[in-house]
C-alpha cells in the first residue's frame, strides 16, 4: 500500500487501522499485531493516561524493552496529547527519577513484569505522590470513546534524550513534521519500498531502532519482525533474517562484529535475501563490513550511514548496492546527505575547504528546534542559525562524499548508545573516596570497540590498602551499572592532579585519552590501581 499523505504519526496509525485493519503492523515473539489491534491498544493506553489526569503537552516517561507494550504506550501518550519520553529501560530508580525531573514527567510507564523489584524501589522513590508509576497490567479502561485532542504536524511527537546529565540534560524535542520529513528522506535515499521486509533487534527506545526500524515500516505498511535486544545471542537476529527472508536490517558496527565472534559456522545461515544492512550509530569499520560480507557470502549489502538525534535521526547514507568507499586513513564514507539536507564543514566558525577536516554541521528540512529546557546547550548547538553543530569531525571529498573522521564532543558511544562523559563522571564523583573522576571513550580498535574508561582521583586520606582500593573500584563500577545499566571497560584509581584540566577547571578529555593510549599515565606512575 502506498505511503499515505498524513501529517502526524497518530493520523498515520488511524489511517492504517481504517484502511488495512487486518494487516500486520509488526510481529514480535511469534505474535503478530494488526493495525486494528495496535490502534485499539493505543486508544486504551491513551484513555488510561487521561484517567491519570495527563494533560496536553505533559511528558510521559516510558521505560519498556522491545515489544507491543512499548508502541501502545508511546503512541498512547501521543494520542492523549501528551509527549512520550522513551528512556533506556535498564536505568536505575534514582536515574529514572532524575530524568523525570529533567523533563518534568509526572507519569512513568514501566514494562509489565520487567523487574518487580525495580518497580517497587521506584514506587518507593516516588512515594511523595508526585510521580505516578504505571505498568501495562494496570491499564484497565472501560470507556475508550474519549474525545482526544487534535494533534498537528508542529506538535512534539517525542523527546529523545541523548544525555541524562543533571547539570546538562540533552533531550531533543522532535515534532511529527520532523519525523515524517526524515522518514520520507530515508525511504527515498535507501530506496525502501512496500516490498521490503524488515527485521530489527535495535532498541525501540532509541532513535535508529525507533524511527528507521519501526516508523518507516508503519509509514509504508511493510512487514516488520521485531526481536528482543539480546547481544549475547546474535544468532537469533540471523535466524530471523533467514526465516522471514528479510531484505532490510540495521545495526551499529558492534552488532556485525559480535556475529563474527559468536557464529562459529556462518554457512548455517542464509542471509542472501538481504538487500541492505545499515551500519550506523557508531564508527563504521571497513574491516567489519569486509569480514561480515565474506563470512556470509554477501556483496555490497552492509551500508554505512550517518545521523544523530539532533537532526531527528538520518542525515546521509552510502548508495545502496554500491561498493563502499574508504580513504587512506581507513575511514568509510557515509555517502551524501539525503534530499533536503546539506552538510557544511566548519572550522573556527567558518566553512572549511573541500577535503579539510572540521566539525560537521547539518542543515535539514527535518531539523528539530533543539533540546528541552536547556538554553545554554541550544545556543551552542546552532551555527549560522540554520545549521546544527553535530560535535562530529569529518570532511567532504572532491566527489561530495562525507567522511566521519572523529569526534569533538565528550561522548562515549557504547554499542550505538550515546553516553556523555559527564553522566558517568557525576555518578563516579558520588562515590565517597573519589575526589574527582573523568570518563573517556577508549577504542582500542578491537572486537569490544569503544568502552568507558574511568579515571578516579582519590582523596589523599583514602588511598588505602589493596582491599580498600578494590572496594572503591567495585563501588564505582556498581554505581555506574545500577544507574546506567552498563559497566565500564576499566576503572583506574589515579594519583591526585592526574586528570588534566582547563584553566577554568573543566576536564580535558582528549588529553586524558591520549595520555592513557600513549602510555604516559603508566610511564609517569600516575595509575595507583589496578596494575594493568
Amino acid at each position: 500500500m502506498p505511503a499515505p499523505d498524513v501529517s502526524t504519526l497518530i493520523e498515520l496509525l488511524e489511517y492504517r487501522a481504517r484502511h488495512s485493519p487486518a494487516r500486520m503492523a509488526f510481529e514480535f515473539g511469534g505474535n503478530s499485531v494488526t493495525y486494528e489491534a495496535l490502534w485499539r491498544h493505543v486508544n486504551r493506553f491513551a484513555a488510561h493516561l487521561v484517567s491519570l489526569q495527563a494533560a496536553r503537552g505533559d511528558r510521559v516517561a516510558i521505560l519498556m524493552p522491545n515489544g507491543p507494550d512499548f508502541f501502545f504506550a508511546f503512541y498512547g501518550a501521543q494520542r492523549a496529547g501528551a509527549i512520550p519520553v522513551p528512556l533506556y529501560p535498564e536505568l536505575g530508580p534514582e536515574r529514572i527519577v532524575s530524568y523525570a525531573g529533567q523533563c518534568g514527567a509526572r507519569i512513568i510507564f514501566l514494562g509489565a513484569g520487567l523487574d518487580d523489584e525495580r518497580a517497587g524501589k521506584l514506587r518507593q522513590a516516588c512515594s511523595d505522590g508526585e510521580l505516578v508509576v504505571t505498568v501495562p497490567e494496570d491499564v484497565v479502561v472501560s470507556d475508550c470513546n474519549i474525545a482526544f485532542p487534535d494533534i498537528s504536524s508542529s506538535d512534539t511527537a517525542f523527546i529523545q534524550y541523548t544525555s541524562g546529565s543533571t547539570g546538562d540534560p540533552k533531550g531533543v524535542v522532535i515534532s511529527h513534521d520532523n519525523l515524517l520529513t526524515n522518514i520520507r528522506q530515508m525511504v527515498e535515499a535507501m530506496r525502501i519500498t512496500t516490498e521490503d521486509i524488515f527485521v530489527s533487534w535495535l532498541p525501540v527506545h532509541h532513535d535508529m531502532g525507533l524511527i528507521l526500524k519501526t516508523m518507516v515500516p508503519f509509514y509504508l505498511g511493510l512487514d516488520l519482525h521485531l526481536l528482543e535486544t539480546d547481544l549475547n545471542h546474535t544468532s537469533a537476529w540471523l535466524k530471523a533474517i533467514e526465516a522471514h527472508k528479510a531484505t532490510f536490517t540495521a545495526s551499529p558496527d558492534f552488532g556485525y562484529r559480535l556475529c563474527l565472534r559468536q557464529i562459529r559456522d556462518p554457512s548455517r545461515f542464509d542471509l542472501t535475501s538481504l538487500r541492505m544492512a545499515v551500519n550506523a550509530a557508531e564508527p563504521v569499520r571497513r574491516t567489519t563490513i569486509e569480514a561480515f560480507e565474506r563470512a556470509f557470502g554477501l556483496r555490497n549489502v552492509v551500508t554505512p550511514a550517518y545521523g544523530l538525534a539532533e537532526a531527528t535521526v538520518g542525515v546521509s547514507c552510502w548508495p545502496p548496492g554500491r561498493p563502499i568507499k574508504t580513504d587512506s586513513h581507513g575511514n568509510v564514507s557515509a555517502g551524501r546527505p539525503f534530499n533536503g539536507i546539506s552538510v557544511a564543514i566548519v572550522e573556527n566558525g567558518e566553512p572549511a575547504e573541500t577535503g579539510l577536516v572540521g566539525e560537521i554541521a547539518v542543515k535539514s528540512t527535518a531539523l528539530p528546534h533543539g533540546y528541552f529546557d536547556n538554553d545554554t546547550a541550544n545556543q551552542a548547538l546552532f551555527w549560522r542559525s540554520d545549521h546544527i553543530l553535530t560535535g562530529d569531525l569529518g570532511y567532504i571529498d572532491e566527489e561530495g562524499d562525507l567522511f566521519i573522521a572523529g569526534r569533538k564532543k565528550n561522548i562515549i558511544i557504547l554499542s550505538g548508545r550515546t553516553i556523555y562523559s559527564r553522566e558517568v563522571e557525576e555518578i563516579a564523583d558520588g562515590v565517597p573516596p573519589v575526589r574527582r573522576a573523568a570518563a573517556v571513550g577508549i577504542d582500542r580498535k578491537r572486537l569490544e570497540g569503544e568502552q568507558i574508561y574511568v579515571f578516579a582521583e582519590m582523596r589523599p586520606s583514602a588511598v588505602g590498602t589493596t582491599e580498600k582500593r578494590e572496594a572503591t573500584v567495585r563501588s564505582i563500577v556498581g554505581a555506574i551499572f545500577r544507574q546506567l545499566g552498563v559497566r565500564p571497560g576499566r576503572v583506574y584509581l589515579v594519583k591526585p592532579r592526574t586528570i588534566p584540566l582547563t584553566d577554568n577547571g573543566k576536564v580535558r578529555h582528549a588529553h586524558l585519552r591520549q595520555a592513557y593510549l600513549d602510555g604516559t599515565l603508566v610511564g609517569e606512575g600516575r595509575i595507583l590501581f589496578p596494575d594493568y
Partner: protein, 74 residues
C-alpha cells in the same frame, strides 16, 4: 597470589561485585553481558601481556575457564 585468585579479583573489579567463585558461569551466575566478557578478556590480556585467541574465547563460560585460558597461555 595464584593465577586463580588474581583472575577472581579481576572479575570482581570488572563486574563490580564482592564475591566470585571459580565454578560460576559469567553470564547466568554473575550477570555479565557480552561487552562485560570482552572487557574481562582485555583486562586479562593487559595483566598477563598475552593474547587470547578468539576461538578459545567462545568456549569460556565460567571463571574457571578464564583461569584455564591464562594457565595454558603462560
Amino acid at each position: 597470589m595464584s593465577v586463580a585468585e588474581d583472575i577472581k579479583a579481576l572479575v570482581r573489579l570488572q563486574l563490580g561485585i564482592a564475591s566470585v567463585e571459580a565454578d560460576q558461569v559469567l553470564t547466568e551466575d554473575l550477570g555479565a553481558v557480552s561487552a562485560d566478557i570482552l572487557n574481562i578478556v582485555v583486562a586479562i590480556e593487559d595483566k598477563y601481556d598475552i593474547e587470547i585467541e578468539e576461538s578459545a574465547l567462545a568456549d569460556a563460560r565460567t571463571v574457571a575457564d578464564l583461569i584455564g585460558l591464562v594457565e595454558s597461555g603462560k
